[in-house]
């Protein structure tokens, strides 16, 4: 029976104006997305490769010099690897920095060169671009905004419309249980929405994958599969919402009105407003505070060590003091940088967890984490870089330890080994993504989305069972 109702719904929908318009709209959007991606992605990859090559060249030239040079100058610039699934979710990548610097060994303006530290560039506020601010047409936009609206347009009259025409009474006079009708309608709507979406998505992927410029590996396809599944789940949410309101309301015009207002509130209004409120609840360190603290601590370290700063002595005591001076300064600067970044990211994280109340934002975050872009990806990048920095430091100590002639005082040229280091031995930074980790991290959000869908579906069921016709 369910099959029968589903089939009927499907035929009804396939012949309708809304289906044709949906197909057109989704195809146009996905085409724009694919073309935009093909246009931009090769440039992105090229820039990344060139930058990484330059950074590695610099590193190997330091390697040729000495181990001391490596200790002094650090690993250089570390770059975030662009995701091949950038077209799924842009995730504010143009605002996020794509680089972390491991360098700047200068101590004060006096020309003494100490040791390197990690420093994190600020998120660019894009203040140089003066054009209008628009959302990029990516899958996240298409699904979160357009597909949800379409799902509502397919269901707002599915029960109230039949009631208006009197066909509902007719249908219920046959001995069909109500939940069968509801499930049939739900499935019918789901299939009729997913046909155009699947079509458009396949076309999009076809264009992208036939181009030689973008390479999608097995993992990327797996991620795309998950993204597609999430999109369907999200569509179910709005279909269920549509059925719920449609069952409760007598007239379809009213039902649409209510649905649209809910849509505007949840999809458009809530994400930004809640973010603004939430970010106020957890203030971050301001850059002024950071600088005040930095200059204080710098002064303090300088007062303790300035007696060795200019010293030309090479006895063990002076060298140890110099090394301690350099490392304390670098650690202090790195710690402050980290604290500053952590407080900023924590504020954003806080705001993000609150905005998840809106399903559209939830979907946005899910897509971002599976596409390997956006904020969650950025914190992964930061973690990767920090882990690498640790590895790099350990490498320097290990190499130095292997030379018995060295004084083992890291950070001063006289205290370190003078043996050559093989360029191949130096650890290289590789920014990696792992699907299982992403999956783990976003399991909560997926469950939340599923929960929302189940709640709404049972709500629709209860509403439909109790309603009088």
């Amino acid at each position: 029976m369910i099959l029968h109702i589903t089939k009927r719904e499907l035929y009804d929908n396939l012949n309708s104006l809304r289906f044709a318009l949906t197909v057109l709209l989704l195809l146009a959007l996905m085409l724009t997305n694919a073309i935009g991606h093909l246009h931009e992605h090769p440039n992105r990859i090229q820039t990344y490769n060139a930058a990484v090559a330059e950074s590695l060249n610099l590193l190997s030239s330091h390697t040729d010099d000495s181990l001391y040079k490596l200790t002094q100058q650090g690993p250089g610039k570390l770059y975030k690897k662009p995701s091949p699934l950038h077209f799924c979710a842009e995730g504010g990548e143009r605002l996020l920095p794509n680089i972390i610097e491991g360098g700047s060994p200068y101590v004060y303006s006096t020309g003494i060169i100490g040791v390197w530290q990690l420093s994190y560039p600020d998120a660019s506020i894009n203040r140089k671009r003066v054009g209008p601010d628009v959302t990029k047409v990516d899958w996240a936009f298409i699904i979160a905004y357009v597909l949800s609206l379409i799902a509502l347009l397919f269901t707002f009259d599915s029960i109230s419309g039949e009631r208006e025409h009197g066909t509902l009474r007719l249908m219920l006079s046959n001995s069909v249980p109500r939940h069968t009708i509801l499930i049939g309608k739900f499935l019918g709507a789901l299939i009729s929405v997913s046909i155009p979406f699947t079509l458009a998505a396949l076309m999009n992927l076809l264009i992208i994958s036939t181009s030689s410029a973008v390479h999608l590996n097995t993992e990327a396809w797996g991620r795309l599969g998950i993204i597609f599944f999430i999109a369907l789940l999200y569509t179910c949410f709005f279909l269920a919402l549509g059925l719920l309101i449609s069952a409760r309301v007598q007239r379809s015009a009213v039902s649409l009105m209510i649905l649209l207002l809910i849509w505007v509130t949840f999809v458009v209004f809530m994400p930004s407003t809640l973010a603004s409120i939430a970010s106020e609840l957890s203030p971050s360190i301001s850059s002024d505070e950071k600088w005040t603290q930095y200059s204080q601590m710098r002064e303090e370290i300088w007062d303790r060590y300035n007696y060795v700063a200019w010293s030309k002595e090479v006895d063990r005591k002076t060298l140890t003091a110099k090394s301690a001076f350099f490392f304390e300064k670098a650690e202090m600067a790195e710690r402050l940088n980290q604290e500053y970044l952590t407080s900023q990211m924590a504020q954003v994280q806080h705001a993000r967890s609150i905005t998840q109340v809106s399903t559209a934002t939830l979907l946005q975050y899910l897509l971002e984490s599976f596409a390997g872009t956006g904020f969650a990806r950025h914190s992964q990048f930061v973690n990767n870089a920090e882990r690498y920095a640790q590895q790099y430091r350990e490498f320097v100590v290990d190499i130095d330890r292997s030379d018995p002639e060295s004084l083992h005082i890291i950070g001063v040229p006289e205290g370190m080994t003078e043996k050559k280091v093989l360029p191949a031995a130096v650890p290289k930074f590789e920014d990696t993504l792992s699907l299982s980790k992403d999956f783990n991290d976003s399991a909560m959000e997926m469950l939340l989305l599923t929960l929302f869908v189940i709640v709404l579906l049972s709500g629709a069921y209860l509403a439909f069972v109790h309603v009088e016709i």
Partner: protein, 500 residues
């Protein structure tokens, strides 16, 4: 005619959709306004701290060459209506003698968290843009198709009434219905704005808000007419509703984002690079001249700071390597509190050198500006203008641009501020030249309190007066009105020719 309007009005006002519309509108607008006012207060507080801090830092400096003149941009209270570029562009700009400041050199106050820009920010115009248009369509889609379906249209037309009158009555009554929630919202917003302690609105500001409201009205009318057009062209209300929704989705949601993803407006990177290299070359040439001068100088072998010794420091740089904003400059400065006795004989030489050197720097900066301005325009302003124009093919873009012009948060409005900073930059240089400060001893040595910083020219900026706002909004307003008229004419034609 009046009877018709009254009938339509009552029909509309008594519906559930009207009540729901008013309720949701008010709720959203009040919540948004509260958040936006809070946001404005925070920006204002950050501005106040920055001004205080900068003033304090300026007073700490003891020589003119180390002067720290920083201009802060205050947030625009009308950004609550349309935030435009007000929040995005830099709000701190240093004024120096070695380059002409532009909006691309501006930085941000230190208390912001730039990561928060990941969240989109909304304003009242954005809410109106989405919801007013939606309401207008929902009210209009069944005005003609509904009556036709129910057969009441035929009934009405049996009376000796002209088609035009019916249309007009429907239009007027629909607009009145939509104006009620709009005006209620505006009044609530005004109440919230005037009761807030931190926001001061002048009479001009109220007039500007009036301009925004008028634009909203025209925008509303445009979408109402689109709805009527769909209603007149279709036979069934359900078709009309579907069409209306898709038209809304396309115009409001899809088009603005799609068109700017599809069309790339960035200029060729070589053009900017060549401008940057040209600027760099000019400065390097200048540096050669400077070295030439030093070589011919009677004091042999001195460096740029003439080996001055004393309590304090010197700084120098040829650089400021910012290709993205085409900034490259020559910077030399001294910050001595006292000089040692053995450096004193050098002072006349230094003064001679500075008399030649610093005016050259300002002249070169002027020359650079002639290269930099067109290059920056090509790099940033022109693409922005093209993008804005592309958006104007949708009424949403027109509405946004026009309200931005009224609130003064558009590119022109912000450029006014930066032009004022440039004027101030010129005034400071004139002040330096008039008082022979470049060659004075205070340029490089000064104890605390030697310079009275209060004598410096003061920066002041007044937002452009309302006439200019109106002038900037006028073309878009005209376009919106024109589309309104054309739509009305089309509806009339369709309605007259259609069979009932």
């Amino acid at each position: 005619m009046i009877t018709l309007i009254r009938r339509e009005l009552l029909d509309n006002l008594m519906t559930f959709r009207f009540a729901a519309a008013v309720f949701i509108m008010l709720l959203l607008v009040v919540a948004t306004t509260a958040v936006l006012i809070r946001d404005y207060e925070r920006r204002l507080a950050s501005y106040d701290t920055a001004v205080k801090k900068n003033r304090q830092k300026m007073l700490e400096r003891t020589t003119y060459s180390a002067a720290r003149l920083t201009i802060d941009r205050s947030p625009n209270p009308l950004s609550i209506f349309n935030v435009g570029l007000d929040k995005r562009l830099g709000n701190r700009l240093g004024v120096n003698h070695f380059f002409v400041p532009t909006l691309w050199d501006a930085g941000k106050h230190g208390s912001d968290n730039p990561f928060l820009n990941l969240f989109s920010s909304i304003d009242l115009v954005f809410i109106f843009q989405g919801i007013l248009s939606l309401l207008a369509l929902v009210f209009a889609y069944d005005t003609l198709a509904g009556e036709r379906e129910r057969g009441t249209l035929r009934l009405v037309l049996t009376h000796p009434i002209r088609h035009g009158q019916i249309l007009f009555a429907k239009y007027i009554s629909g607009m009145i219905c939509l104006l009620i929630p709009l005006l209620m919202c505006i009044l609530l917003v005004l109440i919230m704005l005037t009761t807030s302690a931190s926001i001061f609105l002048s009479i001009d500001d109220f007039l500007r808000i009036g301009g925004v409201v008028f634009m909203s009205f025209v925008y509303l009318s445009l979408f109402y007419l689109i709805g009527m057009l769909i209603s007149a062209a279709t036979r069934r209300t359900s078709t009309a509703l579907m069409l209306a929704m898709f038209v809304w989705g396309f115009l409001v949601l899809v088009y603005p984002n799609m068109i700017l993803t599809a069309i790339k407006t960035e200029p060729h990177p070589d053009t900017t690079l060549s401008a940057y290299n040209k600027i760099k070359r000019i400065w390097e040439e200048f540096d050669r001249d400077r070295l030439q001068y030093l070589a011919n100088d009677p004091v042999p072998g001195e460096k740029y700071h003439f080996d001055l010794r004393g309590e304090g420091y010197t700084f120098r740089g040829l650089g400021g390597d910012y290709p993205s904003s085409l900034l490259y400059y020559h910077l030399t400065g001294f910050n001595f509190k006292t000089l040692e006795a053995e450096s004193e004989p050098l002072v006349p030489h230094v003064q001679n050198y500075l008399r030649f050197f610093v005016p050259q720097v300002t002249n070169t900066a002027e020359r650079i500006w002639l290269v930099r301005k067109p290059a920056l325009d090509a790099l940033y302003t022109r693409p922005a203008k093209i993008e804005q124009m592309l958006l104007k093919f949708s009424p949403v873009g027109l509405y946004d641009a026009a309200t931005e012009a009224w609130t003064g948060t558009d590119l022109n409005g912000l450029q006014d501020f930066f032009t004022a900073v440039q004027r101030y930059h010129q005034a400071v240089i004139d002040y330096y030249l008039d008082n022979k400060i470049f060659e004075s001893r205070l340029w490089f040595v000064g104890a605390e309190g030697d310079i009275d910083w209060n004598l410096m020219p003061q920066f002041s900026f007044k937002r452009s007066d309302i006439g200019i706002n109106a002038k900037r909004a006028f073309p878009d307003l005209c376009l919106l009105l024109m589309i309104n008229l054309v739509l009305f004419a089309i509806i009339f034609l369709i309605f007259v020719r259609s069979e009932v």
